[in-house]
C-alpha cells in the first residue's frame, strides 16, 4: 500500500511541469474548449508539440508507436495538463478510436489510421447519438445497406462534437434491422468530405459552437472501413465506452478552480470589511468542495490502480464519472455565487472577474452529467453491473 507517487512518477511530473513552463506560453493556455477559430489554432499547435514529445500517445503500447507508459504516468499527465489548462489533448482519436482499432481493427486499418492520430494530424469525431437514440443508444436507426463494395448510409447523427473541425468520423449504423437491437449494429469509418455528408451547427447554451447535427444522404462507405465484424458493432463500441468513462480530469479541473477562488477570496473584502475567506459560510463551502474534489480524485486513482493491476473497473469507473461531473458543476456554481453580481459577467465583458470563466464553465458543465452516459445511466450501471441488483 502506497498512497503517493513513486520517485519515477514524480520525475515524470517534474519533466512535464518544466516543459509546460518553458514551451507553452501563457496566452496559449485556455480551457481547451476550442470554440473560436483562434482557440482551435492553439489547440492544433500544442497538439503537434505534444505529438513531438510522444505524449499524445503516452498510454499506447510501444508496438503501435506509443510510450507504453504505466497507468499512473497517464494519470499525472492528465492531471497536470488540466490543472495548467494546456490545450492539445485529443480524446476521439487517441483515447477512443485508437484503442478500439488496437483490439478490433485489422492490421491494415491499424497501419492506415494509427500513425496520423499519433502525429496529431487528423481530427476524428464520434457519431453515436441520434435524435431518437440517446441513452438507449442500441435503438439507433441510421441505416447502412449493403451495395457491392460499399455500404450506402442514410440518416443523421446528432450532438456530434467537433464534427465541424473533423477530418474523419467513426459511427454506428444499423446493418440488420430484423435482428435484436444489439445484434444489428455495425461500426464504420468515413472521411467527413465524403459526398452526401453535411454538418449543421448547433449552438450550445454557453453560446458556443461545439457540437453539430451530421446528415448522411446516400453516403457510400467502402466495406474496408468496417471495424470488427458486420453486425457486431455494438460490442466494438462498448470497448470504447469503457475507455471513455475513466478519468482524473474532473478533480484536477476542480482543484485548479478552487485554488483560483481561494486566492480571490483572500484578496476580496466582503461587506464587513473582512476578506471573504474569513466568512464562515464561505469557508465551509470551500472545505466541502475540497473534500468532494479529494473524493473524486481518490476514486479516479482507484480506477487507475485497478487497471495497473490488470483488473477491469466497471462500477468504479461509473462512480468516478458521476462524482467528477457533479463536482465540477458544484465548483463552478460556487464560483459564480462567490463573485456575487460579477458572477453573471461573460468572458470578455468589461469588469469580468477571473476572465468570466466561472460563468462560462458553469454553463458549459451543465453538459457534463449528460454526455458519455448520463448520471442516471451510470447509477444504473453501478447498481446492476456493480452491486448485482436485478434488472427491472
Amino acid at each position: 500500500m502506497r498512497y503517493e507517487f513513486t520517485a519515477e512518477e514524480e520525475a515524470f511530473r517534474a519533466e512535464l511541469l518544466e516543459w509546460i513552463e518553458n514551451e507553452v506560453p501563457e496566452d496559449l493556455r485556455g480551457i481547451g474548449r476550442a470554440a473560436s477559430d483562434e482557440e482551435w489554432e492553439n489547440e492544433l499547435r500544442v497538439r503537434r508539440q505534444l505529438a513531438d514529445k510522444g505524449w499524445l500517445t503516452l498510454a499506447w503500447p510501444t508496438e503501435y508507436g506509443g510510450q507504453g507508459a504505466p497507468m499512473m504516468q497517464q494519470v499525472i499527465f492528465n492531471e497536470e495538463m488540466v490543472y495548467h489548462r494546456i490545450p492539445g489533448r485529443e480524446p476521439f482519436g487517441t483515447r477512443m478510436l485508437a484503442p478500439t482499432l488496437m483490439v478490433h481493427g485489422t492490421e491494415e486499418q491499424r497501419r492506415k489510421y494509427l500513425p496520423p492520430i499519433a502525429r496529431g494530424e487528423v481530427q476524428w469525431c464520434q457519431g453515436y447519438s441520434e435524435p431518437d437514440s440517446g441513452s438507449d443508444l442500441a435503438s439507433l436507426q441510421m441505416r447502412a445497406v449493403d451495395d457491392g463494395d460499399d455500404f450506402v448510409v442514410n440518416g443523421s447523427k446528432i450532438w456530434t462534437s467537433l464534427a465541424h473541425r473533423a477530418d474523419w468520423i467513426f459511427f454506428l449504423v444499423r446493418t440488420d434491422p430484423d435482428a435484436p437491437k444489439h445484434r444489428g449494429i455495425s461500426f464504420l469509418l468515413a472521411p467527413m468530405d465524403t459526398p452526401g455528408i453535411s454538418v449543421e451547427p448547433i449552438i450550445n447554451m454557453a453560446g458556443h459552437h461545439s457540437f453539430n447535427q451530421v446528415f448522411f444522404e446516400d453516403v457510400r462507405v467502402p466495406k474496408e472501413n468496417l471495424v470488427g465484424e458486420l453486425n457486431r458493432g455494438w460490442y466494438v463500441a462498448a470497448t470504447l465506452l469503457d475507455f471513455e468513462r475513466s478519468g482524473v480530469d474532473y478533480p484536477a479541473q476542480a482543484r485548479r478552480t478552487l485554488d483560483d477562488l481561494i486566492e480571490y477570496a483572500h484578496s476580496t473584502l466582503g461587506a464587513d470589511g473582512e476578506p471573504l475567506s474569513k466568512d464562515p459560510d464561505i469557508r465551509r463551502k470551500f472545505v466541502e468542495l475540497s473534500i468532494e474534489t479529494d473524493a473524486a480524485r481518490s476514486i479516479a486513482y482507484e480506477v487507475a490502480d485497478m487497471q495497473a493491476h490488470g483488473e477491469i473497473p466497471n462500477k468504479e469507473a461509473s462512480m468516478s464519472k458521476t462524482l467528477g461531473t457533479k463536482l465540477v458543476q458544484d465548483v463552478y456554481g460556487f464560483g459564480v455565487d462567490l463573485l456575487g453580481m460579477y458572477g453573471q459577467l461573460r468572458p470578455g465583458s468589461p469588469r469580468a472577474v477571473l476572465e468570466g470563466r466561472m460563468l462560462d464553465m458553469q454553463l458549459t458543465t451543465v453538459a457534463f452529467t449528460i454526455f458519455a452516459g448520463t448520471t442516471e445511466i451510470q447509477k444504473n450501471i453501478i447498481a446492476t453491473r456493480g452491486l448485482g441488483l436485478p434488472r427491472g
Partner: protein
C-alpha cells in the same frame, strides 16, 4: 501509487474476518449491550491471544510491531461485526500513547501487560465543554512532595469502569497558551476511589463515564512525555485514534450496505424484488459510492500516519467525511428496509446507533472541517 494490500495485510484481514464471524454474533452483541462490563473474559483473552492488543506495540515489548494500516484492517472487521469491548481504548489509544510517548521504564512496566490482555487503558481528556482543543483541558495538576496532585472532572472517559490505567491530560501551567502547558499523566486506577465514577447512558451503549479526580496523587514517574509538553503528544494519539475510528466506521458502513443489498434483492413488492426499482437502485449506488470513498480516505490516512507523511489533511478529510457518511449510509439503509429495519429486533439499528456515537468521537465533522480550512490557508 499502489492501493493494493500486501500478503501480510490480506492475512490479517482474513483472520480477523474468520475470528469475528465465529465469536461475535448478533446475540453476543446484544447480550453485551446490557452487560455491566460490555465484554466477556473469553472474548478478551482470544483477542489478546491473536496478538491484536499488541498490534502496534513494538516487538521488544511483546507486540507485533505492525502499523496503523494492519490495525485498521482489524478495526474495520470489528466495526463490521459491531464487536464491543475495551479494544479501542486499549489496543489503539493506550498502545499508541505508551509506545509512542512513554519512557523505557513506562514501556517495560505497562506494555507487556497490555499486550497480554492484563492491562486495560482508558483516555481521560474531555471536560465539561467536551472540546477536543487544548483550551478545553482545565484540570489542574500541581506539584507536591509526593509527585503531582490532580484535581478536576473528566467526562466521556471510555471504559473507565474496567480500566487499570488512565491516560489523563491536565494543565501544569496556568500562564501561557494551553498548547504549551498541558502534561499527560499515567494514573493507575487503584488510586481513584470507585465511587468517584458515574456511567453515562449513551446511544451506542458505549462505556462512557464521568470520572472525578479529587486530589489524586501521581508519582513523579507517572508523567508521560515532558512536563508541559503533553499537547503535541496527545494530538498525535488523537489523530491516530480518529483514523482508527474511521476504520471502524468503514466496517459498520460496509455492513449496512451489504445488509441493504441482500434485503432489496429478496424483498418482493408489486410482484418483483424492490431492488429492480430504479429509485432503490440509485440510492444503493450512492451508498456504495460513499462507502468506496470512505475506504479510500481512511486507508490513505492510515498510510500517511504510518509513514509519517502528509500534513494532517488526510486525517481531517477522512474523519470529516466518515462522520457524516456513516450516518447517512445508515439512514439510507433504514429507508430501503422499511419498517422491519426500524425494529429493535433487526440488526440495522445497532449500526445507526454506533454511527451516532462514532461521528462525534475524536472530533466531529465541523471540527475536522475547520482543521481543513486552516490547512487550505483559509
Amino acid at each position: 501509487m499502489d492501493l493494493s494490500l500486501d500478503d501480510t495485510q490480506q492475512l490479517v484481514r482474513n483472520s480477523a474476518r474468520d475470528f469475528l464471524a465465529e465469536s461475535v454474533d448478533r446475540l453476543y452483541v446484544r447480550d453485551m449491550e446490557d452487560d455491566e462490563r460490555g465484554y466477556t473474559d473469553e472474548f478478551w483473552k482470544s483477542v489478546a491471544e491473536l496478538g491484536w492488543t499488541g498490534m502496534i506495540v513494538p516487538e521488544q515489548h511483546g507486540g507485533a510491531g505492525m502499523s496503523l494500516i494492519e490495525l485498521s484492517l482489524v478495526l474495520e472487521e470489528m466495526g463490521a461485526a459491531a464487536a464491543p469491548g475495551p479494544f479501542f481504548s486499549t489496543a489503539v489509544v493506550g498502545a499508541h500513547a505508551i509506545s509512542a510517548h512513554g519512557n523505557d521504564d513506562q514501556k517495560s512496566k505497562y506494555l507487556p501487560r497490555l499486550v497480554s490482555g492484563e492491562l486495560i487503558t482508558s483516555l481521560a481528556i474531555l471536560e465539561g465543554g467536551a472540546s477536543w482543543e487544548a483550551g478545553g483541558i482545565r484540570m489542574s495538576a500541581r506539584r507536591s512532595e509526593d509527585g503531582w496532585r490532580l484535581n478536576g472532572e473528566k467526562v466521556f472517559v471510555a471504559d473507565a469502569g474496567v480500566a487499570d490505567l488512565f491516560i489523563v491530560a491536565a494543565r501544569t501551567g496556568e500562564n501561557g497558551p494551553p498548547e504549551e502547558s498541558i502534561t499527560l499523566f499515567l494514573v493507575e486506577a487503584s488510586t481513584i476511589e470507585n465511587n468517584k465514577m458515574e456511567r453515562l447512558e449513551s446511544v451506542a451503549d458505549d462505556r462512557y463515564y464521568v470520572v472525578d479526580f479529587q486530589d489524586v496523587v501521581v508519582p513523579p514517574d507517572g508523567v508521560l512525555g515532558e512536563v508541559d509538553g503533553g499537547w503535541p503528544l496527545l494530538k498525535q494519539t488523537l489523530d491516530l485514534a480518529a483514523v482508527a475510528k474511521c476504520a471502524e466506521m468503514v466496517g459498520g458502513s460496509r455492513r449496512a450496505v451489504d445488509m441493504t443489498l441482500e434485503y432489496v434483492k429478496e424483498r418482493v413488492q408489486f410482484g418483483r424484488p424492490i431492488g429492480t426499482f430504479q429509485a432503490v437502485q440509485h440510492r444503493a449506488a450512492e451508498m456504495a459510492t460513499d462507502l468506496e470513498i470512505a475506504r479510500q480516505f481512511t486507508y490513505r490516512a492510515a498510510w500517511a500516519l504510518s509513514e509519517g507523511k502528509g500534513d494532517g489533511t488526510e486525517v481531517a478529510t477522512a474523519k470529516a467525511f466518515l462522520s457524516e457518511k456513516f450516518s447517512e449510509i445508515c439512514a439510507s439503509a433504514h429507508q430501503l428496509h422499511g419498517a422491519i429495519g426500524y425494529t429493535q429486533e433487526h440488526d440495522l439499528q445497532i449500526y445507526s446507533r454506533r454511527a451516532a456515537s462514532a461521528k462525534v468521537a475524536f472530533g466531529d465533522a465541523r471540527h475536522h472541517r475547520e482543521v481543513l480550512a486552516e490547512l487550505m490557508g483559509l
